[in-house]
Structures are given as structure tokens and as C-alpha cells.
Symmetry: C2
Subunit: 128 residues, 2 copies
Amino acid sequence: MDPRLETNKQTVLDFYEVGLNQKDFAAAAKLVGDRYVQHNPRIADGIEGFEAFLCQLRADFPALRAEVKRIFADGDFVIAHVHGVRVPGTPGTAIVDIFRLDDQGKIIEHWDVMQPIPETAANPNGMF
Amino acid sequence: MDPRLETNKQTVLDFYEVGLNQKDFAAAAKLVGDRYVQHNPRIADGIEGFEAFLCQLRADFPALRAEVKRIFADGDFVIAHVHGVRVPGTPGTAIVDIFRLDDQGKIIEHWDVMQPIPETAANPNGMF
């Protein structure tokens, strides 16, 4: 197996930890390449958009936690299935993030899909 | 590279085509293993739940189309980033589906996350 796949997964895990969980922009920015193409429709493009997003999180949801439930890699892409909880004790959000990394192992593009976790479900298996 | 990764991707692409697009339950069921663990909170567990879901789609959204924008595989998992359009001409839904396949290459588990595509966005890049 291409060893870059595991390295890329670890980079993305580090990005969640220092970025989303610690909300440390400077540390997260070190994992980002010379561009950061943003596809989340609520976040402005580029590393500046990510900085503004983290700043907002620190202000509005200081206790926000992102827990990576499973993580995959294929080629230049890393895909993470994540449980995001903005306010502790609430059901939170099911998220899949897709990241593209460059050949230096830096994150350069991000897509996501987010869905609030409902209180009840048609099956007993949970969203993760 | 493990040739099973490409085979599994093709199985999932076939599942979208015969299942979601053609809404042909019998053809889709041939791609499913001896169980089908469902994590979508609106769909009942098992192959019976998938059958009821397809039946509902045929009735309510006969023109529904799922377009796979990118597809990944890692181990037993296939992950697809999908544009779902229930009614032609509407913005539709951004979806990531995660499938787990058994060692016979049959689909045995499904998770997803869905988000309506907004009319406007903070960046010009689109959700795909």
C-alpha cells in the first residue's frame, strides 16, 4: 500500500485536533498548502475563510468537538466520517469531510456534507 | 493496488444505476449480501427497508437521479460523493454515502449524510 495514504490520514487527524478541537489557527495553517479551495457553502474561500470560520467557532461554540468515527484514503483524497457536537450534551451533527492533499502532503481542498442527527430513527443502528 | 478496491467501486456504481436511477429492486438486491445494515435514520433496517425506500421513491420521485461525482475505496469501504436530484431542475442534495462490502464483494452496510444545496454560497466553488 502507498505509505502516503496513512501519512495523509494522520495529517487530516492532526488538522481536526489542532484546528476544530483546539481551534488553533496557526497550528492548523501549517497543515495547509499554498491554497485552500473551500466547497462548504457557509465558509469563504481560502485560508482566510478558514481563519474566519475558526474565529467564529471560538466565539460561538468554544466547547465544539469533532470526533472522527472512521477515516479513509484513496489517491490524493482523505475522507472522514465525523460526529460534530457544537454544544456538549446535544445530539450533534453527522458530517463527512473530503480533503484533497497535494504531493507534499498538505491540505489544499475541502468539501463537506452535514446533517443534524435526529432524535428518533427508523432503525436501531445510529448514524455512525 | 488491491484489485478488490476497483471491483467494489464498480459494484457501488452499479448499485446507484440499477437501484437509485432505474429503481429496479431485484437488480439492486443482487448486489447486496446476506445482510444490509442501514444507518440512514429515515430508512428501516435490512434489505426489506431498502425495498420499501425504493418503492417510495418510485411513487414520490420517479424522475430522481443520483449522479456520482467522485468515488473512493479503502479496505472494505466504498465512499461516494453524490448529487441527488429528486425533481429535475431543482438544486438537489449533496450526499456522501459510505458502503461496506463483504469479502464476496457484496454490499452489507450503508451510512449516509445529506445536505440540501443552498441557492447562494460564501464561495464560488460549488458543493462538488
